[in-house]
Structures are given as structure tokens and as C-alpha cells.
Point group: C2
Chain length 251, copies 2
């Protein structure tokens, strides 16, 4: 393993805390649920957002904080997590530019039910819940898109419940790698590289296990030639084999 490359991730470490105006407009037009808006509407919407930069591990809001904003990731990666008194945190999702988080229900939650944290150097666009709600009320087709996305997330959450209830750790990690591959994968020389920092702790926190067990399972995957992995990175080589493991049930 002398030739193992180090840190193959290509994370843009731009110094800018703020993202450029160009990027900002581009991002908003890319957000799935604003896709249908006219340029004029888009400009109006854009003026309601303000941007904010975060360093890695900086917290955007804490679980339990009063809800004030809805956010869109402009650049970087954002972690959504839930804490436990014991310290065993659960990583709900890693968000990529164009995805939204925070509150968006019309009735409005009182407090956030998860913590949002910058995973990498991040730029986030925020809008007050009132402004966002006004947009929703004026643009029915936007609401339909938000509903679609929320339904898809509910769907994904149910899959996760299912897996935590019925699959052994190995299967859950295999499935997670496939999901991350679909979301962050960049085909490369050897396998599909998951383009986001991903520590063993992260894998553990997304699959309901410990970092030690995640480490063992991933070591085995590597020995079996299913993945290549190093410090904070993973590349998937054999998608099909992982799929088999994710589906496998011991009769």
C-alpha cells in the first residue's frame, strides 16, 4: 500500500467567508423549488436573502433554538445532527449546495429540532421565516416543490428507520456508501470518489454504530476490494457488491 494517495478530495478552500454575488444568484436559480420563478421574481427573492460564511465545525443554529430563518446552502457542506444526553450524536444528513434546511413548515415550528453545523468552509443564504412564508403563499408551485422535497426526505428517513430495525451494521454502511456515492460521487481513476470529508465517526453517526465498528467494517470492505479509503475519504470501487450487501438478509 505504499502508493496509497493521500487526501484525494478536491475541496475548494476559498478564503472567502462570503460567496460572490454571481455565485449567489446562480445558487438561488439552481435551488430546485425556485427553478420555476421568473427572473423578476428571482431577483425579488434574492433580495430577501442574506448570506453568511462559516468555518468548519462552526454552528449555524442549535437544536432547541427559536426558529427564525430558513437556509439554503450556497457553498460547502452542512451537517444536520441531533444530540443525545449521552453524547452519542446522530448525523441526519450532509447537505450540498442548493439544498435547504431550517424550518419551512407553514404553521411554523417553534424551535429547531436539529443542529446545523458547517462541515467544511461554508456559505449559507438565510431568509426569515416570515419572508419565506410570504413567498410560499404567493407562489403555489414553489410550495408543491417544497412538498416534493420534503416527501422525498420523509421517504429517505423511513428507509433509514427500516434499516436500523432490520439490517446489520455491515448492510447499513454499505447502503450509506451507495447513497453518498449518488449524492457526492465523482468518478475518478479508481472508483467513485465521495467528494466530502467523511471520517469514521461520521459514518458511525449516520448508521447508528461506533467509530470502531465502522472502522472494522470499512477495513474489511477495503480488503475485499469494494472500496478504497483513507483519512476522511472514501472511494467506492464495486457498487454492485455493496448493493448486494445492503440488501442481504440472513434468511
Amino acid at each position: 500500500m505504499t502508493g496509497r494517495r493521500k487526501s484525494p478530495l478536491e475541496i475548494d478552500v476559498t478564503e472567502a467567508h462570503m460567496c460572490s454575488v454571481n455565485l449567489r444568484l446562480h445558487i438561488l436559480s439552481q435551488v430546485p423549488f425556485f427553478a420555476g420563478l421568473s427572473q423578476a421574481d428571482l431577483d425579488r427573492v434574492n433580495s430577501l436573502f442574506n448570506e453568511q460564511g462559516y468555518a468548519p465545525h462552526e454552528t449555524i443554529y442549535f437544536s432547541g433554538d427559536a426558529v427564525k430563518h430558513m437556509f439554503v446552502v450556497a457553498d460547502g457542506r452542512v451537517r444536520l445532527m441531533r444530540h443525545s444526553p449521552s453524547g452519542k450524536d446522530v448525523l441526519l444528513d450532509i447537505l450540498t449546495p442548493g439544498e435547504f434546511f431550517g424550518s419551512f413548515s407553514a404553521q411554523g415550528d417553534e424551535v429547531y429540532h436539529e443542529t446545523a453545523q458547517a462541515h467544511t468552509q461554508t456559505c449559507v443564504l438565510g431568509i426569515s421565516v416570515n419572508d419565506f412564508r410570504a413567498i410560499l403563499e404567493k407562489n403555489p408551485q414553489v410550495v408543491l416543490r417544497v412538498l416534493d422535497i420534503t416527501s422525498a426526505r420523509l421517504q429517505a428517513a423511513n428507509v433509514r428507520v427500516h434499516q436500523l430495525s432490520a439490517l446489520p451494521v455491515e448492510g447499513r454502511i454499505a447502503y450509506l456508501l451507495l447513497v453518498l456515492c449518488a449524492k457526492f460521487g465523482k468518478p475518478g481513476n479508481d472508483g467513485v470518489l465521495i467528494q466530502t470529508p467523511l471520517a469514521r465517526d461520521d459514518v458511525a453517526a449516520m448508521t447508528g454504530t461506533t467509530s470502531e465498528t465502522a472502522s472494522r467494517v470499512m477495513s474489511q470492505f477495503q480488503k475485499d476490494g469494494l472500496i478504497r479509503t483513507g483519512r476522511q475519504w472514501v472511494a467506492v470501487i464495486d457498487l454492485f457488491a455493496l448493493e448486494e450487501i445492503a440488501k442481504a438478509e440472513i434468511s
Copy 2:
């Protein structure tokens, strides 16, 4: 335990496969997301629904079936579940009159991702996805309500993911009983009776454990005076103690 009462549930075992027209209109007006409609709109919506009766354990649709309808529970209880190849099924939810299920995303899923089954004698109102979508497109405020409900369900699913990842079985069952209590609870002589048939298998399938373990945990709860339970029923006596257990983390 000589005085243990038998089957304290008060399930209406009406013979009717169909629910009356009165009930039907009443149900639709009670459905949270139709609550804002005018009487005229409500009548029009009503005409788009057709009703269907199901006997206990009858299947309304299977996971994997092509999506054709969105449903509202009119009477009885409906189980939403996911199957595993191994046979270890997961019970996602038990629905009560006024709740909807099936597909409702605007883009439309191709197939159902869960199986819906009558839990008791049930009457269900169905509407074609096209008709429902037309309603959504004409009534923005209805979409907002659907979004709210979907957000709340996503929220609940995330709680479940969290618990499966971080809580021991005892805690998950304690929490489940509290949730069921809030949803189906009827205060009675001794404790709050959960007004739905609830076998140990059901508890197990909702908490990611086995019926044996569910049985052991619930026996212990009963010995400790937290609940009263029998064949297919549970009454909660000490809500506060269950809350403590649900929150407890080992260090």
C-alpha cells in the same frame, strides 16, 4: 392478578363495509388539510372520493404497487409497514380517522414505498392522484397544510432514527407508549388506555426489536406499576416514569 380485566378496548365492530354518507362528509371536513375549504368546494372534493371497506389484515396496497390513489382513513385503523426479505417487517405507523396515506407528492412517485393494511375493520376514502393533484393546484392553502403534516411526519421519523441509533430497547418502548398514548389514549379508571389493538409483535415492529424482548420489557413495566397490559392492549399508568426512561441515557 385475578382481577385483570380482559380486552378493555372499545373497538366499534360495525358490520358495515361502507361508512355512511354522513360519516363520510364529516370525515372529509375533519381532515386537517381540507378544513379551510368552503362547503361548495368540500362537496366537490367529496364527489371525487370513493369509499372502500376492509376487513382486519386485508391489504389496501402493497409496497411496490404502482401509485394510483391517495387515501384518507374514514373509520378504523390502518397500518403502514415496510417488508424485509428476511420477513422482519417494520411498522412505520398506525393511522386513525382523518389521517391520509398513499402518495401525495406533486411530482408523483412511481410506486408505493410502503404497504398499507387494515389493522381493524376499516373504511377508507380514496382519490386518484390526478384528481388530488388538481385539488392541490387549485387550493394553495391545502398544499401548505399537506406540507405541514409531511414536515411533522419527517420530524417524527427523525426522532425515530435518533432513538434507534442512541437508545436501548427499554427507552424506545417507553417512548412508543407515550406517543401511542398521545394519539390513541383514552383516560379510564386505571391509567390511559391505548385505544387500538396492540400486540407485542406490533410494539416490536415499531421499535426495532423482537416480540420476546418487547414482552420482557413490558412485563417489567407492569411489575414496576408503570403500565397495565394484556392480550393486545396496554394502558399507561405512570406517564412521568416512562418519560424518564425514554430520556435516560447510560451516563
